[in-house]
Symmetry: C5
Subunit: 180 residues, 5 copies
């Protein structure tokens, strides 16, 4: 990614896995490129990538991206197998990603795609899997850029039922006479 | 919110999400305004808001509200999807909110509304969902203000079976000859 | 509680909730009074109370009782709702209470009463609920006082199958020729 | 336990509970005595005991044994009730024992016996329960002594399918032409 | 393992258990030897081994390998029993291994083999168990060496559906007109 002159450079960390069956990195890269082309940010963004075997190796990789590679935010890309034990592994990884965030005071956007989301009668819908990966990674990369800008960049969308990996669910607004 | 003259100002942090289908922020705002109008507090309150994608992004946002934005207490507003995996996500978020509290020594009022609370035969009762959001957010904002006042502000209500998101369950009092 | 002259004063923290349908504080108070009247301790005890909305708000309250209110031990009184999600909430609270203990190096006696313990065919046995609350709170307050005395105060009862909330289960002693 | 002259003295901590229906302390004591009689160790061992109400009170007791009572290793003796909620309590205790180990850098041998291991058609097999307690406590006390000696004391037994609470399962050795 | 002259020496820690029914250490040793013979690394590797009773004893052993034995990365070899309670034990161990990574900022490759993976109708397929152990330990030892080299050594394989303990699942590539 080109550095624009006289601009501050901000590093986004991206951690991904060899376990995943979809390479989600290009979707992140595209989102960040789009954000810069649309001048959504007034700073330059470069990516530091860190590849590990599976989701359980992601949390320390994320923490290292903050502490050793100067990342200001990290996107963690992981795929979770279709068995019950895989869900538990992802839970362990997520719990640890939470801790990495608290220890560093920085956001990690967790982009986990579960095989179970696309498994029907024991068969994996590969096309749907790919689509979810792309949509979730692309949208969360935008979220990462938004969080980099400020804590209120996403405020106009609070309560809007936004989704990553499927279409947005939308806001529910019911105005009734108050109960209080 | 207006600052009253010569009054100490206290910051309440409010973290919310774009995932939620109901914007719960106005209910919090209303409660705090009501508390001030009723002179429940002898200090002025201002709100610092922080919006993130989903519940898993809330814990570090809450911690940042304490550490970077001077909040004395935080209200975390989140909605939890209706699938089993969503319950697990909320569990991870809650576990991390617990840690954020221990690390900072400050309260985070967790206002999580689960789609499962209003799901019947696969259908979401939107009106009920909205009502739970309003009631839970409004009441917990009052709780936040009470906890700001002192550790014994809620003591007169200890054991009273208070509920947020539904009506209070009430106290059970059975006086019998003592077993000890 | 009266301070006896020339006696060291020790503070026991008690954290409780407005969610609970039974006010368990008086049972704790009674136990501590009984322990002092029976000269079980040669120090004076005073209680610092801290009331929060629900069980998830207890861990940081307990930690604050240690760090800001000079408590030497804390009793956490909580009631857990009858739904599956409530069990998960209690699990999060308990996990965090564990951490509060490790961080402070002090004991927190967890007195949690679960609605499920007294629910039969969807109906809550209120009398039984009250009895469990009283028995569990009263006995654990005695345990708290014992732990304050020394790490070996309860040693004579190790392996005795003691219960709080029901009658003791008793020790199992089987003497057979050794297998080693 | 006698101190042998000119020998270094090492403290093993033992934490146990009043909840347990079997007093497992004597089994630990016997194992340590046996290890010394057989000159398995060239140092003297003394035991510091710490008794608490239940398994959830063990983690901080273990940590205190390290930090306040100079223990070099700790054995945590606990019994877990037969209900689902008891399994969850044990899980919370175990998670916290893990943290106590990481915080201190020292081993805690967890000797937990679950009522479920000996429950058949709602009935507890008391004799079997006692036997499991004895075998598990005795063997883990030997493990504790081994770990005190060095990190490679147990290496000759790696992969041997050793069990505590039942007889050893044994090693599986299949030599085939290599796949790599 | 011979030290090559003038080469930097790097220590890989290996923690294993006496509970395991397969000795996985030789598979790790073989992988590291192969990596050095193939000049995959330009540094010498030596192994520090640490043997404990079971998986729950691994996390602190791993941490100690980093802090007391100068390991730069650790491989944790464990076998998990076939009962439900064993899965929970492994979950506790994994959660703690996660924390050990965050506390040290270093990777621990978790090589856990579950009896459930090879259990059919209550019978253990011993041959399959052995094969999974060998494949998983061997491949993860290569992963460990790769991570030692750099954070991008595995990047060419990101999204390739790599598996340890079975054959690789492969990448899913679906090029369609973009949705964004």
């Amino acid at each position: 990614m080109d550095k624009k002159m006289n601009q501050k450079n901000v590093i986004i960390g991206v951690a991904d896995t060899t376990f995943s069956r979809v390479n989600m990195f290009p979707f992140v890269e595209k989102a960040i490129k789009d954000a810069m082309l649309q001048n959504y940010v007034n700073f330059n963004v470069t990516i530091e990538r860190y590849t590990v075997p599976g989701v359980k190796d992601l949390p320390v990789a994320c923490k290292n991206l903050f502490e050793n590679h100067n990342a200001k935010i990290v996107i963690a890309l992981g795929m979770v197998g279709g068995e019950k034990i895989d869900t538990l592994c992802a839970h362990e990884a997520s719990t640890s990603i939470q801790q990495a965030m608290l220890l560093t005071g920085k956001h990690i956007l967790e982009v986990f795609v579960h095989i179970q989301e696309v498994k029907q009668q024991g068969k994996i819908n590969k096309k749907k899997l790919f689509m979810i990966c792309r949509d979730r990674a692309y949208k969360h990369a935008w979220n990462a850029v938004a969080l980099l800008k400020s804590k209120n960049e996403l405020t106009p969308f609070a309560g809007h039922g936004r989704r990553q990996g499927s279409k947005h669910a939308g806001e529910i607004k019911i105005i009734k006479k108050r109960v209080h």
